[in-house]
């Protein structure tokens, strides 16, 4: 008896977003079906993995990830080039951690200078991230946006507390903008509406529904992403049609499972592989639930997710 595949088609489509410029420019989104569902619709763009680089040495990363970058991590330009040239990164996410008041309180001007240097050095698209301090980010990201004018890169994250200034800066300098809210489809929707009401083009947004790590709330992010994607496609809700981001590495490399040595917890097995698998499984889960772009830290985890993406093509 022949089996008739119950295909689904939708009225909605995710916006296609171009990032960067020149030969290494990229695009994400554009799909009119759920992630990796090319068997019943169109998925013109592969998900993109941006590798994370910081403006200061990553002293609060676990040793296993610090070590792989130890020769370059003092210098954001060298670090970014290492990711681009040696590790084959398709995009770089520069997190301005050092601007956080607790982590060095680097000035907005100095941060903008770092952004400029990194942008001049690399060819792949750049994602500029603040330190996630709502107040300081307003000052830092405004200067950073000016420094990145015309580069067609991404800046973020605009949150409920600070979106006005950051969205205005992104608009003035023609950048793409990440809008982040906390694990709720309605909050994501509301923030995207507020930002577009300022005149910001909705087709230049990236939705970050807030990430989480395996065992530490993964299922919340996973389900919020699925709900956003379904609303975008099945209900054709344009507010939820921007591509989605999962900022995975940051959440993963904080949890105990990526730090506790095997000696103390023999039943958890090898720390090196456990940490990499923690990041790779977390990140690939969010690709399955709907993310179009990932931010990741460990090169071996990035490698594994790239192989996974390749195997997902039928």
């Amino acid at each position: 008896m022949p089996f008739t595949p119950p295909k689904e088609s939708y009225n909605g489509k995710i916006f296609e977003l171009a990032l960067g410029s020149g030969e290494k420019a990229l695009a994400i989104g554009g799909e009119n079906v759920l992630s990796f569902h090319g068997f019943e619709g169109s998925t013109p763009r592969k998900p993109v993995i941006a590798m994370e680089v910081q403006d200061i040495a990553p002293a609060d990363w676990p040793q296993t990830v610090q070590d792989v970058y130890k020769d370059v991590s003092g210098d954001p330009v060298a670090w970014a080039l290492h990711c681009q040239d040696k590790l084959g990164a398709e995009a770089i996410a520069l997190r301005l951690t050092g601007t956080h008041p607790d982590k060095g309180d680097i000035s907005a001007e100095q941060a903008a200078a770092t952004v400029k240097k990194v942008l001049e050095a690399i060819k792949v698209p750049l994602i500029i991230l603040g330190s996630n301090h709502a107040e300081k980010d307003t000052a830092v990201l405004v200067k950073a946006a000016e420094a990145a004018k015309g580069s067609n890169c991404v800046i973020g994250k605009a949150q409920e507390a600070n979106y006005k200034t950051i969205a205005a800066a992104a608009m003035a300098n023609d950048l793409k903008l990440i809008a982040m809210s906390e694990l709720d489809i309605n909050l994501s929707k509301q923030l995207n509406i507020l930002i577009t009401q300022m005149g910001f083009d909705r087709e230049k947004l990236i939705t970050d529904p807030m990430c989480s790590a395996l065992s530490y709330g993964l299922e919340y992010t996973y389900s919020v992403m699925e709900r956003i994607k379904l609303a975008a496609l099945a209900q054709n809700d344009p507010v939820l049609q921007p591509p989605m981001l999962a900022d995975a590495g940051m959440y993963v490399w904080k949890v105990k499972e990526t730090q506790a040595p095997e000696a103390g917890l023999p039943e958890w097995g090898s720390l090196a592989e456990r940490g990499i698998a923690w990041e790779a499984v977390t990140a690939s889960s969010f690709l399955v639930s709907g993310a179009d772009m990932l931010i990741m830290r460990h090169p071996a985890a990035v490698e594994a997710v790239k192989k996974f993406i390749a195997e997902m093509e039928v």
């Binding site: 089996f3 068997f39 609060d60 607790d102 709330g217 958890w268 097995g269 889960s285 594994a304 039928v314």
Partner: protein
């Protein structure tokens, strides 16, 4: 195809006698359509209706049990495509492939690893659930020797016998009578003989098809041969094929009521590259696999996959809560800081994660606030000065501290005076509002 409430109603006695506990037959019919009641609650339904309804009210994905006793794994019975709609029902089983080409010592080692895989995770005992005994050699005697070894060493661990040779199947299954084994490997060439072996051993039959067309053909034929319990494989091996076929199968069973694919799915994740294997296995966990076959047991891989399965199969309706108690982070001494927060699991994860990360040992009191975050709990009257002070007093934690000091979240700074009044001898300190302020706050005190 599932019947609607009205269609079911037509088959009921229509006496409204209320023996089923429902006010009317129609109400009962509506509940039956939603699977909220079962047909045997109506004592008066006719045999003829029972038969018609029995078929229609069977779950769209047949329940199949793998193994017997305390380690038995229930599979199937899923009702949704997305976990936000409703809880996924039966967590998938992880099975490790053990080839009959291995030496006895190597096979014994793998069996030992399965037995040693159990870990305690957030109050649940998790383990590699099953052994997939694979007739790679093609030799019936070798498969039987492996089956014998497995049955001796791990008599309680559920087993899947994989072979395309009915004689090899029969001999191997002989070691697992009464154990609800699965016989995997029924295909277009061997179906009747395999079905016979499975029936004789009361094993479920694992259909190994080349594609979805062949799959629905084979399950139909197996049913005709009297096989009820099946586990199905569409032949998908690449990750993308697994997603595609599992999605089609789940949709067809649930939305179209296609019985031919209404069975638990078995997926194969084993890869030479074990990191990739973890991701492919993870895909099967998320996307509708009921048995996931792995190549090898590794403690790190187990932990990752067990955790993922736990996350995906939690109930999305229940706000996740952490147990109320004083948690130790690192190895706190009498001088270490003592903080309090609410029991919303995300709040707990984020707060404990920040403390963990800054490596200042602390005690963290997690107070039952019905799964609400700090601000919401405070607004709802669940995180109040009297409740906090009562919890702290009852915990007896004061005895462990050199100086009785409690650090409260910055968002509830307003409570500090009231708590101090209710906790004589305690000093109340206001901490940062957001968890990401904790590292600097704690380090500055150290």
């Amino acid at each position: 195809m599932a019947l609607t409430g009205v269609e079911i109603f037509k088959l009921l006695p229509k006496t409204n006698c209320k023996k089923c506990g429902q006010p009317t037959c129609l109400a009962f019919a509506m509940k039956l359509a939603q699977r909220q009641v079962s047909l045997d609650q109506c004592p008066d339904v006719s045999e003829e209706s029972k038969q018609k309804l029995g078929e229609a009210s069977a779950p769209p994905i047949r329940p199949v049990t793998l193994g017997a006793g305390t380690r038995a794994v229930k599979m199937g019975e899923e009702t949704v495509l997305f976990r936000h709609e409703k809880k996924f029902v039966n967590p998938c089983a992880f099975a490790v492939k053990i080839e009959d080409t291995l030496s006895e010592a190597d096979a014994a080692k793998k069996i030992d690893e399965v037995l040693a895989s159990e870990i305690d995770r957030v109050g649940q005992k998790l383990r590699v659930d099953a052994m997939f005994l694979s007739n790679d050699s093609g030799d019936a005697a070798k498969l039987e020797a492996l089956a014998k070894l497995a049955a001796q060493k791990a008599p309680d661990v559920p087993v899947i016998i994989s072979t395309v040779n009915p004689d090899a199947a029969g001999a191997a299954l002989g070691h697992f009578s009464g154990k609800n084994a699965v016989l995997y490997g029924a295909n277009a060439g061997n179906l009747p003989a395999m079905a016979e072996k499975a029936k004789a051993a009361k094993a479920a039959l694992g259909i190994a098809a080349k594609n979805l067309d062949e799959l629905s053909d084979l399950t139909e034929k197996a049913k005709g041969l009297g096989i009820e319990d099946m586990v199905i494989d569409s032949g998908a091996r690449k990750a993308g094929e697994i997603l595609r076929d599992n999605t089609y199968i789940r949709r067809a069973a649930l939305k179209k009521g296609i019985k031919q694919v209404g069975y638990p799915v078995i997926n194969f994740a084993e890869r030479g590259d074990e990191m990739l294997e973890s991701l492919v296995a993870g895909l099967a966990v998320k996307k509708y696999g009921s048995i996931v076959v792995l190549g090898a047991v590794r403690k790190w891989k187990d932990l990752v996959l067990f955790s993922l399965r736990q996350n995906i199969y939690t109930d999305p309706q229940v706000p996740m809560q952490v147990q109320q108690k004083v948690y130790k982070i690192g190895e706190p001494g009498p001088k270490s800081p003592f903080l309090i927060t609410t029991n919303f699991s995300l709040t707990y994860f984020i707060v404990s994660g920040e403390i963990e990360n800054c490596k200042v040992p602390c005690r963290l009191a997690v107070m039952d606030s019905e799964g609400l975050s700090v601000l919401t709990a405070w607004a709802a009257g669940k995180f109040t000065a009297s409740r906090i002070s009562q919890f702290i007093t009852e915990s007896g934690i004061g005895e462990e501290l050199e100086q009785k000091e409690l650090i409260i979240p910055g968002y509830v700074a307003i409570l500090s005076g009231a708590i101090e009044d209710k906790l004589p001898g305690w000093k109340i300190t206001v901490g940062p509002r957001e968890a990401n302020g904790l590292p600097a706050f704690l380090k500055a005190r150290a």
